[in-house]
Structures are given as structure tokens and as C-alpha cells.
Symmetry: D2
Subunit: 297 residues, 4 copies
């Protein structure tokens, strides 16, 4: 809650750091961002394994909310499994790709889905009974069957050739374009980043002057999808859900807008010495700031 007693004001000379364990026990469900909170390019964030042991013991439920459409939940969970973190099972994963899939299921009756992404991105399209066609294999002279375009992943196609191909596809046929990951870029090492499919989609949208349909944080649809997934028909008090993230522009503003409490951790994109300045300059105010989502048992 934004509280008058402890405001993060422009003039406040200190920024209060809270211990993650001391706050997490006040909630029934925790939503975690993945990259920068649970893992980074090196592997798991130090001590994060104990956090999930603690949550299990205390009966606190948890979900991973991730802007990712490159893989289905099984493969996304497998990554944690490979790191030795077995508490993150496929049913705990909420990805922007799953939202895009639900959209296709509800709104695209038949025909072929053209997609930008790696071949195995199409795995979970098949379950929908839709044909999937990589843009790499698309022939602009044969587009009668194409009913929707999906931006899934930045890999698996030739940017020089295939980005121009989709610009012309959208000019030739009026079909909805779906962006299954809103991120503009992602880290690939301690120092380097790569442009994400959401960044490419922005360029194509500007050039074609269309309105694309986007899935992923900070949009409310990601949070409501997670909420429905965990509530399973029960009514859950939003005051009992905490969003934990490292990025003000996605995790924190998205959680705030959805009406749940938010905790910023300093293990990812928001560096410890810049957190206060960033909060003040953006007006995006987390309810808590914690060094890390790790818990000492």
C-alpha cells in the first residue's frame, strides 16, 4: 500500500530496504518475475533455492510470470530443473506465449498461423488444431490460407529477408498481428543485450501503421491470466498476492495497476545505487524494496 507514513518521496533522504522473508509471510500467493529475480545469465540467483523450500513449507503458493514465447511451459520449467530447482514445475509457469495461444484458440477458427520464431516455438500451436508456418517458409504469392501473424521469438529466421516479408504480408492481407512477448530487449551476458521480438514488432507496427495485439507484462492481461490460473474459480483477495520483480516498467507498474502489492528486488536491471533515483524519476513506486528474493533459512 502507498502509505503516508513511509512515503518514497522525492525529498526523502533514505530508501528503506526490507527483508524479503519478513514480508513474504504476509501473502498467500507470490508472483515472481524470472530473469533478474530467480536467475540470470550465470544461472540461479544466489540462495533462491531456499526461497522455494520456505514457500512450500509455509504453504505459500507461487507462480512465475515471464514474457517469453520462445518455448512452452514444459521447456521453460526444464531450465529450472536443470539448475536443481525442482519446485518450479510446468504448472507454475505463466508465460506471455500462453496468453497468445489462448487468443489464437478463442479468436482464430481455422487456417494457418504465420510466425516469427524457432521451429519448436510452434509446438504448442499444433495443440490448437491450427497449421503453423514459419515466416522463413512463407511464400508471399501463396497467402490465402494465412489468418494471423504471431511474433514469437527473435531467433529462427533471417532478419534481412523475413522482416521485409512480413511487412509486405501485412500490406497484402488484413490479418491480426499478435506480439507474444512485449519485451524490447533481453540480456545475453553481464554486459550485452539482444533485441527481443517485441522490439522488432514495434518497428514493423510503425512502418505498417497497424495496431498489433500485445501480450505480456506490464499489461493487465498477464496478471489476470495468472490470477485465474491460480484461483481456479475460487475468489482470492488481491491483498494476499505479492508481485516480485526487478524491473519498474514491467513487473512493478503492472502489479500496482492490477491492484496487488509489489516488491522490487535489486538483483537484476534495477541496480542498487540507482533504485531510489529511478523510482523518483518515473513515479513507479513499489510497496517494498528488497536486496534479493533469496531467503536465509
Amino acid at each position: 500500500m502507498y502509505s503516508i507514513s513511509e512515503p518514497q518521496t522525492l525529498n526523502s533522504s533514505s530508501m528503506k530496504i526490507t527483508d524479503f522473508k519478513s514480508i513474504v509471510k504476509n501473502y498467500e500467493i507470490i508472483f515472481f518475475d524470472a530473469y533478474g529475480v530467480l536467475k540470470n545469465y550465470n544461472g540461479l540467483i544466489d540462495g533462491i533455492g531456499k526461497t522455494f523450500k520456505y514457500l512450500k513449507e509455509e504453504g505459500i503458493d507461487y507462480y512465475i510470470l515471464t514474457n517469453d514465447a520462445s518455448r512452452g511451459p514444459e521447456r521453460l520449467a526444464q531450465v529450472y530443473h536443470n539448475f536443481g530447482l525442482r519446485e518450479i514445475t510446468p504448472d507454475k509457469i505463466i508465460s506471455s506465449g500462453m496468453l497468445a495461444r489462448e487468443f489464437l484458440q478463442l479468436k482464430v477458427a481455422n487456417g494457418t498461423v504465420a510466425y516469427l520464431g524457432k521451429k519448436h516455438s510452434e509446438e504448442y500451436l499444433h495443440e490448437l488444431g491450427l497449421n503453423a508456418l514459419s515466416v522463413s517458409d512463407l511464400d508471399l504469392k501463396n497467402i490465402d490460407d494465412i489468418n494471423v501473424l504471431v511474433f514469437m521469438d527473435d531467433e529462427g529466421f533471417d532478419w534481412n529477408h523475413d522482416i521485409n516479408k512480413i511487412v509486405n504480408l501485412l500490406r497484402k492481407k488484413n490479418i491480426p498481428a499478435v506480439v507474444a512477448n512485449t519485451d524490447w530487449f533481453y540480456p545475453v551476458s553481464n554486459n550485452d543485450i539482444a533485441i527481443a521480438i517485441g522490439g522488432i514488432a514495434n518497428m514493423v507496427e510503425a512502418i505498417t501503421n497497424r495496431r498489433f495485439i500485445r501480450f505480456g507484462k506490464p499489461d493487465s492481461n498477464m496478471f489476470i491470466f495468472a490470477y485465474e490460473h491460480c484461483a481456479q474459480g475460487k475468489k482470492i483477495d488481491k491483498r494476499k498476492i505479492l508481485m516480485v520483480g526487478d524491473t519498474l516498467y514491467t513487473d512493478i507498474i503492472g502489479g500496482n495497476k492490477f491492484g496487488i502489492d509489489t516488491a522490487l528486488v535489486l538483483t537484476g536491471t534495477t541496480l542498487p545505487h540507482k533504485a531510489k533515483k529511478r523510482i523518483n524519476s518515473t513515479g513507479i513506486i513499489p510497496d517494498y524494496i528488497c536486496h534479493s528474493a533469496a531467503i536465509e533459512l
Copy 2:
């Protein structure tokens, strides 16, 4: 559904118009936009009264989704009542102001809400146990108690003086800013429009370089709020909900993204002779196009 059999393509020479009555019976719940669908500056759209009689007889539920925070649901429903349309009761109204109120309830524990709007905009803030203070009455030397700023309505304050006041309020104190109506403008007569509070909020956000929290169509939060309001804990198949609107950029893209079917009516901002061109140039494709939401009984 986007269907391969009847594509609204760039090259299609015709645009199919569907009779509203013939489609409405396929749904259990209808979401209506208000302005341009049910009413305009002159009063009710011709024949709209019969539509609600028909829906009641057929047991089809309905809700009005409106970007409006100038009044509470009682006053919004009263407008229809005054026109003789008694089927639209306060419980049928879903307004962006109600979403903003829920946000305040969940995220602002105490203190004072500063707002831009008319005095009676603050009516439903009082129910929350929060103090409300019109920006007209705000003194920048006395802002310790202000915990949030809400953009509610374009009337009720002095633009010359008070817009600059809130720019400086946001520079002096880091508080969340909530936009309770995303619209940029609204019609005031057959020919003239007026800037809405969402348009003013955009200017203030750009100048202060903050990120505001917005409520209203086309954002998913408006649709999920309506969905939860009508579902009351039951599970409703989204395929059984139809969104009816006159504006591609709010009603139609918002409904599409939420995964429900959409019908564009031509009684408001999208003029009949421009509908096809607009659909093709924006890539926002309704499932149906109808002359009007009126039903001949």
C-alpha cells in the same frame, strides 16, 4: 472469429453487413459501449429501447462499459432512465471510474486523494474512507497528506492555473498518478469535440516524464472487471460474450485482445462509408459489422 471463409482483406471488394438481431442471439452476455452505440448528443440511438426489451425477454445479460469517471454508476444510469430506458440500472454499469476506485481501495491505505474533476466526482471516493481534495483547493505548500493524484474529469477546475499546479505537485512529491478515463476527447455536438481528461493526462505525463496508471478501454483491465462483475464467481465461456462498439481503437481492439467476439456498429465515430477503409488501414478487424445495435421487434 477471424475466419478464412470470410476474410476482411485489403483486396476484398465488399464489406459484409450483418443484422444485429441475427448475431446477438448466439451470445449469453453483451457488452455495450455507451456513446455512439446507445446514445449520442441528441439522445438515444433510434430503436435502441427495443434492443434491451429483446435481451430481457431472451434472457441475454448485458453491461455498459464506459470510459467515464465524472460520475458514479447511479448518476450514469440515471441518464438512461431520463431517456425512458429503464433496463439500464446502476448494476449494469461498468465505468473506468469504478476501476480507479478499486485501485485506490487496494493500493492507497490512507491520506488524501487529490483529484481533477467536478465536486461530485468525489462522491464515490468518500465511501473508501479516503479524504478527497479538488486540485482547485490544493495548496502546494501543504502537500504532506496527499498520497495519490487522480485525473477524473475535464471540468471543475481552472486549466490555466491547476494543470500547472499538478505538474509541480508531481515534481515535489513522488506519488502515483491515476488516469480514470483514457479517452483523449469526446463529442459535444454533431460537429464539435472537447478534450477529455485522458488527453490532458497525456500532456502532463510527457512534461513530467512519469508513468501514469490508466484505466479504461482498450485496456484489458476494463474487460476483466466487467467479466468478473457479471460472472460472480461462475466460469463463463468467453465465446459467449460479445462486445458491441463504435470505435475500432477502444471497443474492438480491446474486445479482440480479451478474446471475445466483437461487433462494430456504424452509429458513432466510424462512419459507414469509411468503415472498410479504417479496418483495412488499422488492421483492427471486428468479427461483425452492423448498421446499428437497434433491433426491430
Copy 3:
């Protein structure tokens, strides 16, 4: 010049401060920004009087480039005269308002100029042989004679009423709209700012979806106007001109793009402890950084 020997790189641990006097003597003409360089809300910047004495003695020419259309050059020069700085005469003033006037002279043959601004803003429109009409006095039913709209100043009209009036003027008649000051805001005291006419113009442009014509820094037209004004037909080597400003986004990037050298001073919007960070995060790199444009004689 961007020099490989002294790069302002992201990783450089120091930021070199240069003495203004030591660099100014290498140039034949100095362009000064006004607010934050020569004066602020308190009056003249300390020691700035000596700078102009020095420039006169050394035979270095100088001009003031200011985003201001609220007054003609005589009134703008009068402000410095009142502070005791008599070297800044009307012929030394280059304002964005003068560019707008040249545009009207070249492109508007006859009819009436509707303007937003104070009555005395219209003084120098009369010299053009054009009628001028304050938007305050404009009647939307009588617009046959209106041939252009000019955004001149944020004062002199009723924002609540007159901003909506111009939105509808632009919808009723297709006339060019000219923004005679690109600034979004300006300081009114040590702590407070006010929205400038450029900020209001942005809102109106977005709502009407038109393309306005803008005059002022950082646009090249401001620099070429100053160049032509001082060159008077002679060819001047751009390498002999220095732009001195306090704002990266207008003075420095504008000067760089025009191909002249640039000096950032720290007496205005770019605070000394933030200069390095701002330069690195924006990629807008001045050739020199000086504490102030004041010169010790």
C-alpha cells in the same frame, strides 16, 4: 569536435571542465541560449556582464538564440537592458517568433492569423500586413477569413475554453498550424515550472492528428536563421561558431547537428552533478563543458 583523444565515454571516470574564456577566444561568433545561460528567475547569471564586455573588446560577435514568441526582439532586449546589460541590443536577438514571422511573410498572402497568446504578441504580425485575431476573440461561426493558426504564448487566453476552440477550428477548416516556440515547459521560480505553448501544441496535434510546423531549437531552422542573420551574405566558416547552452536536448544537439562546436554550461537545467550521467545516457555530447559562461576579467 568529437575527438578520440578525449572521449566522453561511458566508462571514463572523469569529466573534464574547461574554462569558458580559454575556449571562447578561438571563435568569431558565439551563439548563446538565454535562460539558464545569461539569466534565470533571479536576474543575470553572476559575472555574465563581464563576458559581453570581453567579447566586445576582442571583436567576437554574439547572438542570443531563444525559443520565445511572446514578444518581439525589442522587448526581449529590453529585459537585459533593465538588468544593466546594454550589449544585448534588439539586433542581437534571434527568437523562434522571428522564424514564425518569416514563415507567415513567405507563405500566407492575406487573410487573418488566429493566435494563442497575449495581445502584445501580435505586435509584429501587424508589420506583415496581416490581420491578427486572438483566439479569445475568435467566433467559430465566422472563420472564413482565418488562414493560419499560430501558437505563440501560453498566456493571454482561457485554456478551458480556447484550447477546445482551436481543436474545433482545425477540424472545421484545413489551415496550417504554426508552433512559434517548441519548448514544452519553462521555469517560473527556483522550484516550479509552467507548461509552455509548445507543450499545449503537442496535445492539440495529437488530438487532431495533424502535422504542425514548429520553429525553435533544436531544429536546424533556428541555427540557419541565426547564421544568415550574422553572415549577411558573407561566407562564415562554421568551425568559427560556438553554441553555448544549458540544455542537451535543444542547444547542444541542435548545435551539433548544425555542424558547429558546442559548450554546455552548468548554470541552468543540467545540474553539475548530473551532467556526466546525462551526457552518457542520451548520447548528446558537447565539445566542451564549462561551469558558466561568465568570464573573470
Copy 4:
């Protein structure tokens, strides 16, 4: 001139088409856009050869203003020569690439220019005494000598690999980034377009949050460069210059802002049946509309 006697108003029922020959004789200098005015993907626009014969006979000077940095003026002129149009010699070409070169000459003293583009794009960088390095050959571990980045052409590099490389280059070293062609896309056939380097630069600028320096129409710097090029120190009355273009957003608004008269031709991007609507919806108003820049002798 915008004239009250023949306004292109929203309510006017007709759009006046003027014969190109009848207006061209009123000017001393004609600025032509290239693509869509003089040539298209098929070759020369019908009858355009006679226009240049006429201009020569009448002693009317002419220049080609083109957003192109892929080649120097010799190669650009060669294209017309190959079509049999010998009046367009290298000295008649004003390209955005020439502006970028002037910027480098004035502002980059030494070191290496990293560029995106084909090998022969670098031809005219060598004349400046600067080293040029294709981004294809750039090693991020060896960037000490890189002093500026130039976006020249969309061909000649691997988009998948090299666009990410420049994103990280700009994160590692704070150097100016120059966009030598502002266009977002260009036509490659009657139906298809390709993304231009200006479109790619927009994506990189958004992702790195930098401010790039752009050269090309509609920016005033293109027009003033052409003006200085043809004036050669003489004073030319701007009323004696006409800009002829096919695109409202670049040629026409740029010419209007520069204060010269403008003629829209309908042989390129602005289709005859859409011209009136486009002019009315954008508020970009040419002084004349002509079917073509071709002249019947």
C-alpha cells in the same frame, strides 16, 4: 502561398489540379524529389525528359533532393544518365548522405567511422581523411578508435547479427550516432516495400534510449543545404523556389516549413483519388497539386 481565395478546406467539394508547366515558369529554381516524381521502379516517369529540356531552355535552375546515403552523387546521377536523362549531372544532386558527410567533416576530427551499409557507401568517407569500418567487420572488443556511428544503407550487413552489435557498441562507448537517411521504408516494386535504414535507426534509438542526429527531408537542414548549394553566396528570394514532391510528410511539409512554395504530384506515394483526403486529414497543404511533373512541349 496559402490563399484565402482558393482554400483547400475540409468542406471544399473540389480539389483544383494545376498544369505543371503553367506554374514552373514563375520560379527561378525547382527542387525535385527523386522517387515518385522523376522515376519509379519501372524507370523514368512518362514525359519527364521533356521537363528538363524545357527547364534548360527557359534558364530555370533545378536540383534533385533525395533521402539517400547508399551512394555518392556521381553514382546517383549515373542512374538518370543510364535512363537517357543527361541533364541530371552530379552537381545537381543534393542527398542526405552529403549532409551526413558535411557533419562528419565539421564535427569528427579523427578516428574511425563505423557504418551500416554497403562497401561502396564508404567511398565518400575516404575523401574526408577518416577511416571507415563496416559494422560487419567491427569487433566489439576493439572499439577504442571508433568515434562515430553512421546509418547509411539497409544493405551490406547481416541484420540478425550486426544490429545487435551496434546496440551494444552504443552501450559500451558514448559516440554520436548519425542517420544519413530519415526514410522508414522505400518501394521495391509496384506492390512491395522494404525497410529503409531510417526505420532500423528508429528501433535502435528506442532500445538504446539515445538521441540520434538525422539528415534528410523533411528536416530543414536538407533544404538549407540545397539553398546554399545553388545560391553560391548570392541572395536568392525564397519566393522564387518551388519544391516538387510526391509525399506530403517529407517533400511538402519540409518545403512549406522552409518557406518555399510546394507542388504535390500524383505519380508516386500520394494516389490521385486519395490526395484530397490526405491533405485534409494531415493539415499538410501544398500550394499546388499537379498530375505529374512531366511537361508537354
